[in-house]
Structures are given as structure tokens and as C-alpha cells.
């Protein structure tokens, strides 16, 4: 399902504690993982594998107020957030 390409840039909406992110992050060049729960993001940060620290960027933000450059990402991933 994931686009198989070099330099894959992902925006994950509703990442929570990262239970999904950890399973695909090795395939991406950069993941911006957002969630409205700062507590879940802190849990994610505390348990993040060292190999992913430079690859996964965590941001506490609801999608409604997120600011992003146009045409910047290859994949938007909505994880359990609809």
C-alpha cells in the first residue's frame, strides 16, 4: 500500500503513541506525526527507537490548524482518526 520510492515524505494524522508509525517509519525518509494529545506524543517520544529520532518529527497539533507547504509530501496517513 505504501508508495515505494526513495525519499518518501509522510504526514501521519492521529499518530497517538506511535503504534502504527513504528511499523512503517523505516520505509520513509521523513515522517511528520501529529496528534492533538500532548500526553500521547510524550509517550511516543519516550519510547521512540534511537534509529527513528532523526526521521520522525512529532508535533502536537489538530489537523484543522496545521500549516504545511503545498505539494510537500508523498503520503497522508490517517491512522484511526476518522
Amino acid at each position: 500500500m505504501l508508495p515505494g520510492r526513495a525519499g518518501l515524505r509522510v504526514l501521519e494524522i492521529g499518530c497517538g503513541d506511535g503504534r502504527l508509525t513504528r511499523r512503517y517509519a523505516h520505509l520513509a525518509d521523513h515522517v511528520l506525526a501529529i496528534d492533538s494529545s500532548a500526553a500521547d506524543l510524550e509517550e511516543f517520544r519516550a519510547s521512540m527507537p534511537a534509529a527513528f529520532v532523526d526521521r520522525i518529527e512529532l508535533r502536537a497539533s489538530p489537523i484543522a490548524t496545521l500549516q504545511m507547504p503545498d505539494e510537500d509530501i508523498d503520503l497522508v496517513l490517517m491512522s484511526w482518526s476518522l
Binding site: M1, L20, A64, D72, D74, V76, M78, W80, S81, L82
Partner: protein, 145 residues
């Protein structure tokens, strides 16, 4: 959320795509996994809304259908797969569900069956397994690139 979903369109590169993952309209199972077998001990209790335990899953289906029908997303691919969450103890899994899932829990009978098997099989784990629908979508204008 459909509105938010459409906000993301401008952020995608021309050949980009959107993937939604949400639970299927089924109850998540609870298993104990020993070294030699997997034993079903119950299902996750979910009281998240008045429409029934799987009502919110149905709502997610409807939100996707709306996005496709009214906002120009094209359904590219859809599959069902299983997603598992594993813990060492039934109480840990119950605590996780109560904190992370909306109004979900393991009932006392399921916890009891799981704990009995965990005592009988050192090293066994408790697994919650849910059916998940993964949907990949793209936009019409991007379909021509």
C-alpha cells in the same frame, strides 16, 4: 473530519496519495499466545456510543464515502488486514485499552481466562487482534500525472 481530510490535498505532491486506516465493523478478539498455540479468550468490550459497539467504525466508513462522493477523491485500493497489540499481562492490556481506545475494556471473565492461561504457560502473551480497513485514495487531477 471530512473537511480536514480535504485540507490535506494541497499538501500532497502531484503523484501523492492518502491512506486511511480504521477498524472494520467487527469486535476485536482477545487471544493468549503460548509457545505452541493461540487461544481465543474473549472479545474487547466497547461501549463507545449508543449505536452499539461498532457504530463508530460505521461512521468512519460513511466519512470516507462522503469524501469520495462529494469531494473528488478517487478510491484507488482497499484491503482488510489484522492489527495486533500485545502485552505481558491481561491487566496491562485492559489498562492500555481503557486509556487509548474510546470506552473499550476487557471484561472480568476475559481477564480471568487470560490470567489462568498466563499462569499455566510461563512466557505466554495477551494479544488483541482487530480487523482494520486500509483505503488508499488519490485526487482526479493527480490521476493524470
Amino acid at each position: 473530519m471530512v473537511h480536514a481530510l480535504n485540507r490535506t490535498r494541497r499538501w500532497l505532491r502531484p503523484d501523492g496519495c492518502l491512506i486511511d486506516i480504521h477498524p472494520a465493523d467487527t469486535l476485536a478478539g482477545v487471544d493468549v499466545c503460548t509457545r505452541t498455540e493461540i487461544i481465543r479468550v474473549g472479545v474487547v468490550q466497547d461501549d463507545s456510543d449508543a449505536k452499539g459497539p461498532t457504530g463508530r467504525h460505521h461512521a468512519a466508513d460513511l466519512a470516507l464515502e462522503k469524501a469520495i462522493a462529494r469531494h473528488g477523491w478517487i478510491l484507488d485500493r482497499r484491503e482488510t488486514f489484522t492489527f495486533s497489540t500485545v502485552g505481558d499481562a491481561a491487566d496491562d492490556v485492559d489498562d492500555y485499552l481503557r486509556r487509548k481506545w474510546r470506552a473499550a475494556r476487557l471484561d472480568a471473565a476475559t481477564r480471568g481466562r487470560a490470567n489462568a492461561l498466563l499462569r499455566a504457560h510461563p512466557g505466554a502473551t495477551v494479544r488483541v487482534i482487530e480487523d482494520v480497513i486500509i483505503t488508499r485514495m488519490k485526487t482526479p487531477e493527480r490521476d493524470h500525472h
